[in-house]
Amino acid sequence: MQRLTAIVMVPLAIWFAIAAIGLIGADRAAMIAWMHNPMAAMLMVLAIIAMFYHLALGLQVVIEDYIHGAGWKLGAIIVVRVWCFLLVLRGVLAVLKLALGA
């Protein structure tokens, strides 16, 4: 999954960088207009999920390398995963609000 999310994120990261450049100096109306495009909304949701999935796996490797007490290690991994889950929720809900309502 780490490799799969990595591969998926190569084009997604490039897409996002280009989109972000286009949104320099944007106001809220511009963000809404951007997310009203169904392709943009879909890609943004995909990017959020893939990014946090990838980074949760990556941080787990880092934690396993540096934290050795079994309890602390497991605790840290759990905190990272819950944190990522919450951020995915926040991100996806924000995209939905911009895309569907606002």
Partner: protein
Amino acid sequence: MMSDPRPLSPHLQIYRWQLTSVMSILHRITGIGLAVAAVLLVSWLGTAADGTEPFARMQGFLGSPLGLIVLFGCTVALFYHLCNGMRHLVWDTGHGLDLKSVYLGGWLVLAGTAALTILTWVVGLARWGM
């Protein structure tokens, strides 16, 4: 273990820095940096969803000197991790694992990172100036 700290033989002070080892730890460092940047990204989307005021404050911060420095760091980290990540994916297929290729790939990644960062900022700053 914490209860019995034994001395370690010195390593970082002894072994010569090489492109391979430096790029390896940079991949980890940029990965961690991007994990922090991910929070910023979600905040950016979140404040846009929240309302005109919160988003205007966020955009204001991103345009401030500190914000620009943060964004610059984000772009360097992103492009480095992206390019070096692709180098890792090539290694996963079993290709390019000889020393010459590893070094060549390494230099290509550094060049790619610099090129993408410069391109992004030249285009970005030009757009901002409009």
